[in-house]
Symmetry: D2
Subunit: 250 residues, 4 copies
């Protein structure tokens, strides 16, 4: 594998696409992906994001969510939670890949380079990791808490809920850019939703390179990657947007 | 976006995982993804891979497929084919992203940087683009020709066929590394198959950066990325493997 | 089991529902279910309907389909076709129920009381049974020919095609009332389509009691069961409807 | 519609199939379907079963479940629960059929002949109807509480859980025989599980005719309909079975 890779410049493509993007708040929902303490609270995280990423993402996500609710958009939190099965352990441990990784490698050398992590103890039912970061949740938000793998649609009622709400545009944020956010983007694209990812509100515990890949992959192949500021602009609500902007992280 | 990105070194992780990989040919199938003339034959391709990639992938894929058949593995070709709908055009054109791209950008500046491409005329039912590259098909292979978006499982009987065949290990090849191969890898992972991608037999029309990062994403998050030679070794069929190796591209 | 059963009178419910039924032809498609020679042509059928049912259904289906096409409705034929898998036989034979039935019972005492039938030789790829009854097919109709079990949505792109066409109302006909038609009705209901079944155009090879059940179950729990005449009336096209009515069977 | 219908005698078929039925407790799970107070507790039920059916089903289900747990079988409770959506009401009310029924008919003349019922207030999140009947639940049972329509697999992680547990045989009980039990039987059949329905533990609020015909449909087309006693016998645990039999209702 090469030590570094040049990013192909597709700014003409993404700028052209940006002009075509229209977001009617009545047809738009924010889906937050695994914004729980198991990734974002360093005190209990079993699959921790980088601490500085966790901080950045929480601040920006809060701004985007407060804005979205004020515009009448639905907010849906999707959270991975695992049952513990007698004689098996976590539901995560039937995955051949995760099982092989636990067999081969110590907790320092698994999914999160430079930080300890574990699948087998991650987000077990009732554990603190399964709690949504408190400042991101408000009464009236929807919660789907039976995500089991990388795709928010797999084994959940997310598609049913989106269609019940009349949603055409899915705005994604959360952890991790290149797995759950990307996989959910693929499926939302396949289902013919308009896919938007908020770059200020995503991060990857797998490494910065895969974070950048995830965003490049979405922007050049299947959807729109925009900043919080662009999101506020597209919703066409300058006043509310501007009021919120100061709270964004640099 | 940065002009280049450093690849995080996870060789310890991938080497540890490689040792854990066991492939029983009776539980293993090769799934080829969109290895049709619409990507790989420059005379008719409407979404062309790079010509040198097309050549490399066809030669290596042929070697891997001939080997797999000789070992009794099932080979399944999954192909995207679009109906033309009166008053709408190609089934592809209901996708909000592809529609926006066609509205905003000319054929030189769409999905394939540096080469012309079109979604609206891509792999329409009956067109030459929908034909599997002849040297990759043999009687006895299975064909699934109703793929509609990026995921080989979506709207097809692929999962049904894999389970009918008793397959636990899905070996993927084809076009494009970072979209259809990656999306199919995600879904196969979510369904708890063991996911293997043959790096010699995949390519991306979207750019070399997304090809490399697609493989990194699979190898570090959800499956095994191996060369043809490693595939032959893992199947444990040295003699047959060695006989085929000389036909591989450099 | 009782020898006979009284049907609960729910005419008030079904009459109330009938008044609420509105069918805009632009949002309506006919889905024909397994109207192939394997059920309906006594010369080759491996799972034959009763001969008089086959005759009735074909005549009425033709009338309804000709009418629907004249009104601009889409017609989608869904057909079960099985691959023959080396060492296994038909794809149908991995079903534990069908396997047990073949182990336990001779061809005279299986799914079709009073008539010989076989799952293991039913609608194998390339066999005459897989052909759509010719008078029911017209160029411009859509064909989905990879149905594998009882639900037209399972493992197929039917939902994708309906949504691509903008369909909200699914009008069903075909074989068998109480299995494939009923199962497809359930799934269409679950997906929030409006479900209509044409009683003149369905039949069951399993027995008249289950045919009646299938219709009762749909009409009282999940959709609308109407005659061809009611269908013509609801589409609001009296003239065309009347022109076609004389060709209906008694 | 006829006032009564003769049941076709298929005892030869069902007896042949019964001999083929083998149930290994380690590969068998009981799935209870909507055994909540919304159907079974006359004090709060918004879609009530007949009171005598509720009583019979609870007594028999308790016996079967206690037996199953003693044999080490997994027990999975699947429950319908609806969110209340601002401006829309219950998630149930986007269904075109249920919406039409509410528009056309009063609460005395809807799904449950002879008893009042309502979809719009049925099993709203947090309401008492969503509680599992207490004597049927034991710690260690699994609960899936996001069923939204008639199929226990649709929008839930039921298939994932069954496969995680290594289940091949799905034993169903609950409400209603001809809708949720039948629809779930269809899907379990389509997914190639062995489908068993416990006739002592199912009932239909839609009428006795549809209950009987629902069981006929399963027994003659896709699975095994057996009594509690037959279930105990098949599990091959005579002693435990016999100990429990006296608690069964007549």
């Amino acid at each position: 594998m090469p030590a570094s890779i040049n990013i192909v410049d597709r700014s003409s493509l993404t700028q052209g696409l940006y002009k075509e993007l229209v977001l009617d708040p009545k047809q738009t929902a924010i889906v937050t992906i695994d914004m729980h303490r198991g990734h974002l609270d360093m005190d209990v995280a079993t699959m921790p994001a980088k601490p500085e990423d966790a901080k950045r993402v929480i601040v920006n996500a809060r701004a985007a969510l407060d804005f979205a609710r004020a515009q009448g958009m639905a907010v849906i939190h999707v959270i991975l939670v695992y049952r513990r099965i007698p004689g098996l352990g976590s539901e995560g441990m039937v995955s051949p890949f995760w099982k092989a990784m636990h067999a081969a490698l110590g907790e320092e050398d698994r999914l999160t380079p430079g930080r300890k992590s574990t699948v087998s103890e991650h987000n077990i039912e009732g554990s603190p990791g399964t709690e949504i970061i408190p400042e991101l949740y408000r009464p009236g938000d929807y919660v789907i808490d039976n995500k089991k793998r990388l795709d928010c649609f797999y084994g959940t009622d997310l598609r049913f809920l989106l269609d019940t709400l009349g949603v055409k545009n899915v705005v994604l944020m959360g952890i991790n850019t290149n797995t759950c956010v990307l996989n959910t983007s693929f499926t939302a694209f396949n289902f013919d939703y308009r896919v938007v990812v908020l770059s200020d509100c995503v991060a990857s515990m797998y490494g910065d390179d895969l974070h950048v890949l995830g965003l490049q992959n979405i922007a050049r192949c299947l959807g729109w990657v925009i900043s919080n500021e662009q999101f506020f602009e597209k919703i066409g609500a300058d006043r509310q947007g501007r009021a919120i902007l100061p709270t964004q992280a640099a």
